[in-house]
């Protein structure tokens, strides 16, 4: 079932084999069926969108991927093997980073510190050497700081580097969250509505960032978004969910013309 | 000028007890100033410092006052006393912990600057048992005695003594600890109700006393078989239980009530002049009398010191000498207007704790007053003395102290 066949997209990116595969996932909360028997895969290097009406179970799906929700049924395959049940932080250490729909930044810390938390899994110094600081710990800190600063540069948030996150407007917070996730240098990046609450200009910026990340670092991206323009333009393949069920899966064009998708979600055929 | 700091606690959980003591202590010195112009012609300077019964504040008070020529400290809390034992000794200032503090400080050979005359807790335990012996024609064998105690260093003090005495007199001892603050004692009193001890002794403090007495009333424990230590025997402890507390007993090392000539003097020279400490409404209460008594002993020691050193302006070191040579006799007390106010005793270099004379008082709920129902009787020195030797020796060893008085 693992198909490792790779191909090259129209704009010259290489899409690899299957990186992650969800098999027959079902998730219930008491009586609420958030996800019912959904399967789909994410291939290496692609931008995979998940769309669907409100309450369809998209965020829940991301939570399953990042190990926060444990599905009652189904398996998660990652890098060619079934992922055993593990705690979310272990999932993160396997190279999966994400952003959240309701921003989950560390409000009490500065932007820089928030981005640096993304580097935590790359920092290994023990308690004692950190307490003494001089030497190895400082060295490690600086190396990671350099990575973080690069990402801060990349996302153009240098000017707010030292600002406490709680003072930022909504849109910038989203960007900082992206920076934090990128700082982890993940192999799979999950984005939950990264562009909610942005105007077109900002969405353009954000799109650019996402494309560049995908391009430059080869990061695989799974993304939830309600702006159809963005989804259709950016993604290689789209999964459509409704009421916890999968109602469509395919290239943007296929999805766009799928009657079930139009009925459940788009309302009108999107240009 | 003679400086006496008063480390009082008019606030905090034990304020109700601290206030009358502090008032009595202060009023006595005011009386001396007003009536006699001080001690030996030297005016007394009383510095009150509020500790709130808190050890750290006690330290602060000590440090703040010791520089001003303080002659004597009455720490009024076991915790503060323990702080001050080494500190005051090093600073050469005597400490008088009257009816509390470290019992083995009685051994003057080890504790040069600490005095705890006229009695200590172990004396208290022994006097209590003596009273029970009296009630039972000298035989306690087969009787059950329960000790309800505050679960702290203070509360645990009598245990050792009571255990020794149990061996000697053959009674059975039950120990019932009550955790601070002691608002809930159902468990302890249900156990008493079940096991029906013949007598209950109590080492309680603060709200624990009131609750214990109330619970005893509730389970209809015969109050005359219930004896508290002197810190569990003030008006504060019995009044909340109302009529039920009638007959409750408590130990004492000084007399009660205001039926002494000195109270007339206090009235004319202090209260009527508006010089009374606090609200001036505590005269004659048990703890007021205790403060009065403590001040009297301090003043007498100062007088003795003035005589020994032949100067009116004594120093702390001289004060210490005076305390070590203090002699309280009935005549002395009578001339002071306090006949039979406390036991007679003498302090010596070896013995800083007096002769261990205590008495029993009883509460009359109708008249709302305490009365002394026994004479001052001596504790069982045969049992206590070895314990004191043992404990003080341990302290001496731990702190490299050489024995004095030899």
């Amino acid at each position: 079932m693992m198909d490792q066949e790779t191909y090259v997209t129209a704009d010259g990116r290489t899409i690899g084999g299957v990186l992650m595969e969800m098999r027959n996932i079902s998730l219930r909360f008491g009586g609420v069926k958030a996800i019912t028997d959904i399967s789909f895969d994410i291939r290496e290097g692609e931008i995979r969108a998940i769309i669907g009406p409100n309450g369809a179970g998209k965020s829940s799906m991301l939570n399953v991927i990042s190990g926060f929700y444990i599905p009652q049924e189904g398996e998660v395959w990652y890098k060619g093997a079934v992922r055993p049940q593990m705690r979310p932080f272990e999932v993160a250490r396997q190279g999966i980073a994400r952003t959240f729909q309701n921003i989950a930044l560390f409000e009490g810390m500065s932007v820089l510190d928030n981005v640096m938390t993304g580097r935590l899994n790359h920092m290994t110094m023990g308690l004692l050497s950190q307490a003494i600081w001089k030497g190895k710990a400082e060295q490690e800190e600086i190396e990671n700081r350099e990575v973080a600063e690069k990402i801060i540069d990349f996302l153009e948030i240098q000017h707010i580097r030292k600002t406490p996150v709680s003072r930022l407007p909504y849109g910038l917070k989203k960007r900082v969250e992206l920076a934090r996730a990128l700082a982890a240098q993940p192999s799979l990046l999950l984005l939950d509505e990264p562009m909610a609450g942005m105007n077109v200009e900002e969405k353009e910026d954000m799109s650019r960032f996402i494309l560049d990340v995908n391009d430059e670092f080869g990061t695989t991206i799974a993304l939830i978004e309600h702006d159809m323009g963005v989804v259709m333009d950016l993604s290689d393949r789209v999964v459509v969910m409704d009421y916890g069920k999968k109602i469509g899966d395919g290239s943007p064009d296929e999805v766009r013309n799928n009657q079930a998708v139009i009925d459940a979600y788009l309302g009108v055929a999107h240009d | 000028e003679l400086t006496f700091p008063s480390l009082s606690y008019r606030t905090g959980p034990y304020a109700a007890n601290g206030i009358p003591f502090a008032d009595g202590y202060a009023d006595y010195f005011t009386l001396l100033n007003e009536r006699d112009g001080g001690i030996g012609g030297e005016k007394i300077n009383l510095i009150e410092c509020e500790t709130g019964y808190n050890t750290e504040k006690g330290v602060e008070c000590y440090e703040a006052t010791k520089g001003s020529g303080a002659l004597l400290y009455q720490p009024l809390s076991t915790g503060i006393t323990y702080q001050l034992i080494p500190k005051a000794t090093a600073d050469g200032i005597p400490v008088h912990s009257m009816g509390y503090g470290r019992t083995s400080a009685k051994n003057g050979k080890v504790f040069s600057h600490i005095f705890n005359y006229p009695v200590n807790y172990w004396d208290g335990a022994s006097v209590g048992i003596k009273h029970l012996l009296d009630l039972n024609d000298g035989d306690l064998s087969g009787k059950k005695v329960a000790l309800v105690y505050h679960n702290s260093a203070y509360g645990k003090e009598p245990i050792r003594t009571l255990e020794e005495l149990a061996k000697k007199h053959g009674y059975e001892l039950t120990l019932l600890a009550v955790d601070h603050p002691g608002q809930e004692q159902k468990s302890q009193w249900l156990q008493i109700r079940r096991e029906r001890p013949d007598y209950v002794l109590m080492w309680g403090w603060g709200v624990m006393n009131q609750v214990a007495i109330q619970e005893a009333v509730n389970i209809r424990f015969p109050m005359e078989n219930f004896i508290g230590i002197w810190w569990s025997g003030s008006e504060n402890d019995v009044k909340p239980a109302g009529a039920g507390a009638d007959g409750y007993k408590a130990l004492a090392f000084h007399n009660v009530g205001s039926d002494f000539p000195i109270f007339d003097d206090l009235k004319t020279h202090v209260v009527d002049k508006g010089l009374a400490a606090g609200a001036g409404d505590q005269l004659g209460t048990v703890l007021y009398n205790r403060g009065l008594y403590a001040a009297m002993l301090a003043a007498e020691a100062a007088k003795t010191a003035q005589e020994i050193h032949d100067t009116s302006n004594i120093t702390a070191a001289m004060m210490r000498d005076g305390m070590e040579s203090l002699e309280i006799t009935e005549e002395k007390m009578a001339t002071l207007g306090m006949p039979n106010f406390g036991p007679e005793f003498t302090v010596t270099c070896e013995n800083h704790g007096g002769d261990g004379l205590g008495a029993v008082t009883q509460w009359d709920a109708n008249a709302e007053k305490w009365t002394l129902i026994t004479d001052f009787v001596q504790s069982d020195q045969d049992v206590l003395q070895p314990l004191i030797e043992e404990d003080s020796a341990a302290y001496a060893a731990e702190n490299d102290i050489e024995e004095r008085c030899n």
Binding site: S66, F68, R87, P88, F89, V91, R98, A104, L105, F106, G108, M109, D113, M116, T117, G118, L120, L127, Q130, A131, W133, E138, E140, E141, I142, N144 | R10, T11, G12, A15, C49, E50, G52, N54, T55, E56, K57, E60, E63, T78, G79, Y82, Q83, P86, K87, A90, R102, T103, S104, S152, A153, E157, R160, D179, H180, G278, L387, A394, N399, D400
Partner: protein, 369 residues
């Protein structure tokens, strides 16, 4: 205007990450260090040491420790008093020669040097702290705060009952015997005030340095992440077990040391229920909050404030105005309570934040926006 930071550029990350990035601050810091180590020891007397400096230094250590747990890691603890007691009793056992019974045989260590005793006491407390920190994995917020009271009450009860802990002394109190370092008495009644002062200052300086380093590095970020949003922290890769327990360990280490110093250097004799009761827990928590959660400077400010304020009030009300002591003490309660409220209303994030805002204002002064 007065407070300048413009023109103070950083060209490397170590420079940018230093504790006092602004020259003026750095200068002030060294001045304070100099005064603390080289001036004060020569001018202080018993009163200042015992009433002001020792409690300040020792409480500052405790406040830094608690701040790590509450301010940085977000785990509210009301067990500080109990943990200080562990430090105090451990220190007592080490300095008087720890005795252990193994298989009916008693082995006794010789008394250990006071400096080491204090550090070992800190380590023992760290261990106990981790034990009581375990529930924090399940229990959060105020539930945890109340749960830590279990530690508070249990530990105090234990040290009251466990005769081994107080070397079977008749009264159940522990008293610090005389101990010295470099031939100078640190504990006991004959300790010179300046020696005791320096002894505590060295601990404070060392620990503050460590706390600062821990909190600015990856450890500190883990803690803060857990504090701000524990779920998100876990999802981005923070192991909550390790993060919380390490915070408990480090914090308890600090608190244990402060307990050890509190007992051995400051008070000299301790009765556990009274000295390390729940009020102590609250007092230290106050310091942390008044000073500012998540700020080392705040811990200092809070400790200074709450040590000095009562002394100051007492001296003015009783000494200066001649009020009766009890009225003064009651008023003190009201004033301390009132001030706590006032500060919180003025600036909920504590003195540290107040100071930050003043700086920001100074920067603008005298021209408003």
């Amino acid at each position: 205007m007065f407070y300048r930071e413009a023109g103070d550029f950083k060209t490397s990350y170590p420079e940018d990450g230093q504790t006092f990035p602004i020259k003026l601050d750095r200068f002030g810091f060294f001045a304070v260090l100099f005064i603390g180590f080289a001036v004060i020891p020569f001018v202080i007397n018993d009163y200042w040491v015992n009433s002001v400096f020792l409690p300040f230094l020792i409480y500052a250590i405790a406040a830094i420790g608690l701040n790590i747990l509450v301010g940085y890691c977000g785990q509210v603890s009301l067990g500080t008093g109990g943990f200080m007691a562990v430090g105090a009793y451990a220190c007592y056992k080490f300095m008087t020669g720890l005795d252990i019974w193994i298989g009916g045989v008693q082995y006794a260590l010789p008394p250990i040097n006071i400096f080491l005793s204090v550090i070992l006491a800190g380590l023992v407390t760290a261990f106990v702290g981790v034990l009581f920190g375990l529930p924090s994995l399940r229990i959060k917020g105020f539930y945890l705060a109340v749960a830590t009271l279990a530690a508070q009450f249990f530990l105090v009860w234990l040290f009251n009952k466990w005769a081994w802990a107080y070397n079977y002394s008749a009264s159940g109190q522990i008293s610090a015997p005389e101990r010295s370092i470099f031939g100078m008495n640190v504990t006991g009644a004959n300790a010179d005030p300046w020696v005791a002062y320096l002894f505590c200052l060295v601990f404070l300086a060392g620990l503050a340095f460590m706390a600062r380093n821990l909190t600015r590095g990856s450890m500190g970020r883990k803690w803060m992440a857990i504090r701000d949003m524990d779920i998100a922290a876990e999802i981005i890769g923070v192991d909550p077990l390790k993060a919380k327990l390490s915070a408990f360990a480090v914090s308890s280490f600090f608190i244990g040391i402060s307990g050890a110093l509190f007992f051995s250097v400051y008070l000299g004799a301790v009765e556990v229920g009274e000295v390390f009761g729940i009020n102590k827990s609250f007092l230290v928590l106050f310091m942390v909050i008044i000073g500012g959660l998540g700020s080392i400077f705040g811990a200092f400010a809070g400790a200074a404030f709450l040590v000095l304020l009562p002394v100051f009030l007492k001296n003015t009300l009783v000494g200066g105005l001649g009020w009766p002591t009890d009225l003064a003490a009651h008023l003190e309660f009201m004033i301390v309570g009132g001030l706590i409220i006032t500060f919180l209303v003025l600036e909920p994030h504590g003195l540290a934040q107040l100071w930050r805002i003043i700086k920001e204002k100074l920067r603008l002064w005298p021209f408003p926006h």
